[in-house]
C-alpha cells in the first residue's frame, strides 16, 4: 500500500503506540483486499457490545484506555452501536448481573477514548446522517448498507477492531465499497409483489440477500413504483445484509446511484407473491405456542415506536407472553415526552433503551426466562436468533401485537 506522509508518521510511532498498532492492523486488512492506499474518513460507528467483545475484548479496550490522552483519543467523531445491557431494565428480563458489570467496564474504557456513547444502530436516522460521497467507517451491517445504498455514502463493513482503528488513525484502507467499481450492480431483481409493511420489506431483503454469492455482489431492484420510507428501507437493508453479508443495494428510481446499472439486457430474477409467502411459511411452527415478542434489529425509530404504541394502546399483553421493544436512548427521551412510552408500558410492554435484543446475550436471557418461541416483525432478528436456540416466527407488527395480547401465535 502507498502510504501518505501522515500515515508514515503514524507508522513510525510519532503519534504513539496505539495509533501505530491501529495502522498496522489496517494495513494487514488493506493488503488482504488489495487496497492501494488509505482514504480519510469523516466519522466512525463502532460495534462493540459485550457479547461480541467478551472479556478479551473488554480487556483490550481497557488496555488502550491506560495510554495518555493524546495517544489514545479518537481523531474523528466516533459513536457506538447498541450496547449489551440496559442498566435501567436488565432485571425485568432477568439478565445476569455479570453481563451488566462487563458492560460498565466497556463503557468506561470507551469514554476514555473519547468515544460518544450513542448506542444505536439507526445512527443514520438519529445522529449525523452521512451525505453522498462521504467516506465512513461504519460498524453495523444495517447502518453500512443504509449509508451506502440510501444515502450514497461509502463504507465497508467495519467490524469493531477495524472501526476502532479507523477512529484512531482517521482513515481506512481504500477497497471494496469505497471504490465505484465495486458499487456497480451485478444482480438484477424485479419485484412482482408490493411490500405492505416492515416485515414484508425485511422478508424481501432476506429473499434477495440469500441469493447473493458473497460480499462483492450488489443487487439492483426494479418494480417498486412508489417512494419507500426510511423505516421501510431500513428493514429491507438490514435483512439483506444479515442474510447475505450484502453491503449495498440499488432501487431503480429511488436510491442515488441507480445510474450505475450498466447492463441493458440483464438476467432478471423475478420475486413473486408466492416467494414472499414461502419466506414467511419457512418460519411457521407446528403449533401456536408463544413465549416472547421482540421488536428490534434494527432499533425502532420514533415513528415505529408511535405506530407500536397505538397498536398497544388500551390492550394488555397476555401474562404468559413478554413483549420487548428496543430503541435508542435518544428516541426513548422523545417517546417519554410524547406519551408513547406510557402507552407501551401500560400494556405491559418492556422498553429497552440503547440496546438490541440479540446482542444482549440473548441465549442466556432466553434460558433465564424459559423463552424458546420468539416472534418479531424483523427478518434480521428472525435470522440471527435461529443460532441462539430460539424458534423464530416472522409476521407483521400488527400480528405480533395481536399474538402478544392473545398469548399465542396468530397467523
Amino acid at each position: 500500500m502507498k502510504l501518505s506522509h501522515k500515515e508514515l508518521e503514524i507508522q513510525s510511532g510519532q503519534f504513539g503506540e496505539v495509533r501505530k498498532l491501529a495502522l498496522e492492523h489496517q494495513i494487514q486488512v488493506g493488503k488482504f483486499f488489495d487496497a492501494q492506499s488509505f482514504v480519510e474518513i469523516s466519522q466512525v460507528h463502532i460495534m462493540a457490545d459485550t457479547e461480541a467483545l467478551g472479556l478479551a475484548g473488554i480487556e483490550y479496550l481497557e488496555n488502550l484506555a491506560q495510554y495518555p490522552d493524546p495517544q489514545k483519543q479518537v481523531w474523528v467523531p466516533t459513536i457506538t452501536d447498541p450496547r449489551g445491557s440496559d442498566f435501567k431494565s436488565f432485571k425485568k428480563i432477568k439478565q445476569n448481573k455479570r453481563f451488566v458489570d462487563m458492560e460498565k467496564r466497556a463503557i468506561d474504557a470507551f469514554k476514555q477514548l473519547n468515544v460518544m456513547m450513542t448506542d444505536t444502530c439507526i445512527n443514520y436516522q438519529v445522529f449525523m446522517p452521512p451525505v453522498k460521497g462521504e467516506h465512513l467507517a461504519f460498524g453495523d451491517t444495517g447502518s453500512s448498507i443504509y449509508a451506502n445504498s440510501v444515502l450514497g455514502a461509502r463504507t465497508n463493513f467495519e467490524g469493531g477492531p477495524s472501526a476502532l482503528a479507523a477512529s484512531l488513525t482517521g482513515r481506512t484502507p481504500m477497497y471494496g465499497l469505497h471504490l465505484e467499481q465495486n458499487r456497480i450492480p451485478n444482480k438484477y431483481f424485479k419485484l412482482n409483489v408490493r411490500p405492505t409493511n416492515f416485515s414484508d420489506w425485511g422478508a424481501l431483503g432476506g429473499i434477495i440477500g440469500k441469493q447473493m454469492n458473497s460480499y462483492w455482489d450488489v443487487p439492483i431492484i426494479y418494480g417498486i413504483d412508489f417512494k419507500p420510507t426510511s423505516d421501510e428501507l431500513k428493514h429491507f437493508g438490514a435483512a439483506m445484509a444479515s442474510f447475505g453479508s450484502t453491503p449495498m443495494f440499488h432501487i431503480a428510481e429511488v436510491t442515488p446511484e441507480d445510474h450505475l446499472a450498466q447492463n441493458k439486457n440483464p438476467k432478471m430474477n423475478n420475486i413473486s407473491l408466492s416467494d414472499l409467502n414461502n419466506f414467511y411459511k419457512s418460519y411457521l411452527p407446528k403449533d401456536d405456542h408463544l413465549d416472547v415478542v421482540v421488536f428490534a434489529a434494527p432499533q425502532l425509530s420514533l415513528n415505529e415506536m408511535r405506530i407500536l404504541s397505538e397498536l398497544l394502546d388500551g390492550n394488555k399483553i397476555h401474562p404468559k407472553v413478554s413483549l420487548l421493544v428496543c430503541t435508542p436512548s435518544a428516541v426513548k427521551v422523545l417517546c417519554d415526552k410524547n406519551g408513547i412510552s406510557k402507552k407501551i408500558e401500560n400494556s405491559g410492554g418492556i422498553i429497552l433503551e440503547g440496546v438490541c435484543f440479540y446482542n444482549m446475550h440473548a441465549r442466556e436471557i432466553g434460558e433465564a426466562n424459559g423463552w424458546k418461541r420468539l416472534m418479531s416483525n424483523s427478518a434480521k432478528i428472525i435470522n440471527i436468533l435461529g443460532g441462539y436456540g430460539y424458534e423464530t416466527i416472522l409476521n407483521s407488527m400488527e400480528k405480533c401485537v395481536i399474538s402478544a395480547c392473545q398469548g399465542k401465535i396468530v397467523k
Binding site: 486488512v29 478479551a56 463493513f157 435470522n383 443460532g387
Partner: protein
C-alpha cells in the same frame, strides 16, 4: 505421502497444520456458533452440532453481521476456537477479525475449496503465500 497444493489470495496469519472440517455452507461466528461449547448451533447449518475446536474450517462465504470481528480474538484466548479458516470468499469482517486475532485465513481459490478438501484431511496453510497443502487426504473408501 501424497501432497496436493492449492493457491488462493495472499492471506492473514502464520502457517498452521491441522484437520479440516468442511461443508458447502456459509459462516458467521455470531449466527452459527455456540461459542461456549464450541459447536455449530444453527440447526440449519450443515455442521450443526459438530465441534469446530482446533479444526481448520473450510466453508463457502462469510455471511451476516460484524460481531465476528471481535469474537475471533475472544474465541482464540478461550481456546474454544478453530485453528484456521479457509473460505471461497471472506468479507471484510472475517478478514478484520482474523487480523485482530492473528487467526490464519485464506480465501479466493481458483476452484471451490469446499469441493477440494474433505473433512478429516490433514492440511497445512501458508497464509503469506496464499498456499495450502493437503498432506494426507482422508480415505474415500
Amino acid at each position: 505421502m501424497k501432497e496436493n497444493v492449492y493457491f488462493g489470495h495472499i492471506g492473514i496469519g502464520e502457517p498452521v497444520k491441522g484437520e479440516a472440517l468442511v461443508a458447502d455452507d456459509n459462516f458467521s461466528a455470531r449466527y452459527d456458533l455456540d461459542r461456549i461449547n464450541g459447536i455449530f448451533s444453527r440447526k440449519s447449518h450443515k455442521l450443526f452440532n459438530q465441534s469446530y475446536v482446533n479444526k481448520i474450517l473450510v466453508l463457502n462465504v462469510a455471511k451476516g453481521g460484524v460481531a465476528t470481528a471481535w469474537m475471533f480474538r475472544s474465541m482464540k484466548i478461550s481456546k474454544i476456537c478453530p485453528k484456521a479458516l479457509l473460505l471461497n470468499f471472506a468479507n471484510p469482517i472475517i478478514a478484520q477479525g482474523a487480523a485482530h486475532a492473528n487467526l490464519p485465513l485464506i480465501d479466493r481459490f481458483k476452484s471451490d475449496i469446499t469441493k477440494i478438501i474433505k473433512s478429516g484431511d490433514i492440511i497445512k496453510l501458508f497464509p503469506k503465500e496464499g498456499k495450502i497443502a493437503i498432506l494426507n487426504e482422508k480415505s474415500t473408501n
